[in-house]
């Protein structure tokens, strides 16, 4: 100290400032190193104890779940309680419907569920968010009100945790608070999280979405339709037809996505008309959906889409056509009939990519003597190849 004050007197106030800065920097270094060392030591000790207790509790796991080990033996010990809850939640997430009741019963009778519900209601910040996600993992219907309350929290992180929690329950009832708020425009959060949660909740009962879809407008309508597109089931046939005629293109695209889930008799005609939609991405979606169907009636609309003005639609249609089945030479004949060079080029490219071209050429060559028309096809094929090569060279030259 004496040395320091002599130095400050000798060198002026700036030196005093530098001295202080050195002192605080050195103190900071020591504190950081101490923190790292103590943290490492503490974590090592914690994980050792965790491991020991997990092993001990696993030995009596069946008795804990069945309630033969009284809850008070582990519930009031924080580490044991943490371990049992973690094992229970992991088991619930992977449990089949018949394995679920005893696990949920253990969660309820031990009071763990009530503790988490209370935490979700009265705690704040990350403690609340952890409780919300844990509640979702329980898949218990009584958690829905607490989760729904958190949807109105002021913090965005808490609202996200609540949405994730509701999604993880996988219960159709959990979708209701989400949809209610969505309709009232009271739910501001990343769309991806919301969509995932809704899809998880409505996977078994997509019908939950339809009344909300009918009431919604604009962006909300598009989002609900998009979820419906993913979870649609055959029972929604008529609803999907209505959506296919929706004024919003995003909704029509979602209908196209959902239609393969409906009966082919309904889906095919609707998708054929969507494949002529004025919006290119609706047509694209319809072509993708047609490609995923197994009905022979899909070939004609796909060939029509192959002549589309949009290159993505053409490419996707070509992709689907090149994979329709064994008689690709017939498809090729129909493509040649369109007399559309772009369509022919897209189809031949895709045949090459899928590796089917050699087989098609083989079939055509083998039949050339019997069917003179196929000779023309071979010529068209060769001409098409040349055109592609020319286009490639031109494109490469453009790149230069």
């Amino acid at each position: 100290m004496d040395f320091a004050s002599r130095l400050v007197t000798q060198l002026g106030p700036v030196a005093g400032m530098v001295l202080k800065a050195i002192f605080f920097s050195l103190l900071g270094i020591l504190l950081l190193i101490a923190f790292i060392v103590i943290r490492r030591w503490y974590r090592g000790r914690y994980f050792r104890r965790l491991n020991e207790r997990t092993f001990a509790l696993r030995q009596i796991w069946d008795d804990i779940v069945a309630g033969r080990v009284p809850g008070k033996e582990w519930r009031l010990k924080p580490l044991d309680c943490e371990i049992v809850e973690a094992i229970l939640l992991d088991s619930i997430e992977t449990a089949t419907p018949d394995q679920l009741p005893p696990l949920l019963s253990c969660l309820r009778s031990s009071g763990l569920l009530d503790m988490r519900i209370r935490e979700a209601r009265i705690t704040r910040s990350w403690q609340r968010r952890t409780a919300l996600v844990a509640l979702g993992r329980t898949r218990a219907p009584e958690t829905i009100p607490a989760l729904a309350e958190a949807l109105d929290a002021s913090s965005k992180e808490t609202r996200i945790a609540a949405v994730r929690g509701l999604g993880r329950t996988g219960l159709p009832e959990a979708a209701v608070p989400l949809l209610d708020r969505l309709l009232a425009n009271e739910l501001r959060m990343p769309e991806h999280t919301l969509r995932n949660a809704l899809a998880n909740c409505c996977r078994k009962s997509p019908g939950v979405l339809t009344p909300y879809l009918n009431q919604s407008q604009g962006r909300t309508r598009e989002m609900i339709a998009r979820v419906l597109g993913e979870v649609a089931s055959p029972e929604l046939g008529d609803e999907l037809l209505i959506l296919a005629a929706d004024p919003l293109p995003e909704v029509r695209a979602s209908a196209a996505r959902a239609l393969p889930a409906a009966l082919p008799s309904i889906a095919l005609s609707a998708l054929s008309s969507l494949a002529r939609d004025p919006e290119w991405f609706v047509r694209l979606r319809a072509v993708v959906a047609l490609g995923s169907m197994q009905h022979p009636g899909r070939i004609r609309p796909l060939i029509r889409a192959l002549c589309d003005s949009n290159r993505y639609v053409r490419q996707r249609s070509a992709w689907a056509l090149a994979r329709v089945g064994p008689h690709l030479e017939n498809v090729l004949a129909q493509v040649v009939e369109t007399q559309d060079s772009y369509a022919l080029q897209a189809f031949i490219s895709e045949l090459e990519r899928s590796g089917a071209i050699e087989k098609v050429i083989e079939v055509l060559e083998g039949q050339a003597d019997h069917y003179p028309a196929e000779k023309l096809l071979l010529e068209a094929l060769t001409a098409g190849r040349k055109r592609i090569e020319a286009a490639m060279t031109a494109a490469a030259a453009g790149g230069r």
């Binding site: 130095l7 000798q10 060198l11 700036v14 030196a15 530098v18 001295l19 800065a21 050195i22 920097s25 050195l26 900071g28 270094i29 950081l32 190193i33 923190f35 790292i36 943290r39 490492r40 990350w126 968010r129 952890t130 919300l132 996600v133 992180e157 996200i160 945790a161 994730r164 990343p190 769309e191 991806h192 999280t193 969509r195 995932n196 899809a199 998009r226 993913e230 290159r311 490419q315 080029q345 897209a346 031949i348 490219s349 090459e352 990519r353 590796g355 190849r385 592609i388 090569e389 286009a391 490639m392 494109a395 490469a396 030259a397 453009g398 790149g399 230069r400």
Partner: protein
Amino acid sequence: MHRVLQLSNHILFVYYLLSNLIYLVLLITAIFKNTLHRHRLASLRLERLKNSPFTPPVTLLVPAHNEEKFIVDSVRSLLTLDYPELEVIVVNDGSGDKTVDELQRAFELHPARLLYIPDVPCAAVRAIYSSWTEPRLLVLDKKSVGSKADAINAGLNAATSPYICVVDADSILERDSLLRIMAGIFSDPSRVVAVGGIVRVLNGCRVVHGRLEEVRLPKRGLEVLQVIEYLRAFLIGREAWAHYNALPIISGAFGIFRKDLVKRIGGFRADAVGEDLDLVVRLHRYLQEKGQDYHISFIPDPTCWTEVPADLKSLARQRARWHKGLLDALWPNRDMLFRSRYGRVGSLILPYMWLFEWFAPVMEFIGYSSIIVAAILGLLSRQFLLLFFIFGYAFATLISIGSVLLEEMTYRRYSDWQEVARLLFYCLVEHFPYRQMTMIWRLQGIWQYMRGDLKWGELKRLGAGAGA
């Protein structure tokens, strides 16, 4: 003379104090942001993202130039990444070795006559190959113009996904890194246009067939010093700048971008020395000019492991190139400086980059010279000089240890006590002579840029990613 020296010493003192204060603010911000991120991760389940039908497809762009040793393992490793819809486009950038042959043999490539439209200008593509065994793989064989950016642009033209992720052929991505980095996009897809992940040092780690088996600290001190530098740059610098939405760079080794935006700004600049920095600055410029609400984000858990130079000569070349790249990206965008139109980018990050990144080696050099001259001439008290050096040393060490602390608090990749002790030891010794050497290499970079020498230069590689 005396007055000039005194004035110069005062300026240097203020400069040094300011730069340390900024770093302190960045360290505190990074600690706060890291803690927040860890909490967020606790409620994020990657398998749900993986199984979600709403997860958008991603195209991995892998520019490859003379990568015959690594390319097959590297592509195999990329194809095994946990991601639902993945497309891998390898762009062979005129390799003189057997890069394409190796790929052809391993993946049964065959020429595919695909429609390739060069929306973004790049050198001619000689051939496009697809694979009989791996439909997600596409290989473009293009003429080389000696630019990685040009190769990425060729891949960009062929990409079919809404997001592209640029990955170096000799780098290794962790299996879940793509899902993790995309989580940054999902957090707000309408605003987040690009996300960077962390790049870590592969040297010393055990790699088997393109997969990271064991994380170890490198044996050589030179490499350990780079480990600390990477931790400091990523866990403090990028984390904190991203928090203020002023991230100036996403590493070229691992970053994800919205494809439409990259195309709209004309792709990567083919003649850029540091194409990654250049792209991000141009993205900022474009989005600020359009008045869009956007965020360029950084997430510290998606990890890419990359080999760093193990010898002084390669390291010197790399650092000179990085500094050239910095000036090469800053100079064309100098009109953004202090213009309110460019928001924080123009008023905060670009001035910071000019003053405390680009100009740092110059100031450091002037600083060393003038302080020593002043001390010799008796203008500066020797005790004060000593105090100042001790402060500089202690503060820089504090920041470095702060980055090790962040690593400890978050990802703990170096689990061994011994390794942490070594990291801490190198935090204490990195300031001499490594720091001074870095200063010289960076000055060389400035000199080379001024002379118009914009070559990349070859880096000698040990082949850490080559396999067991």
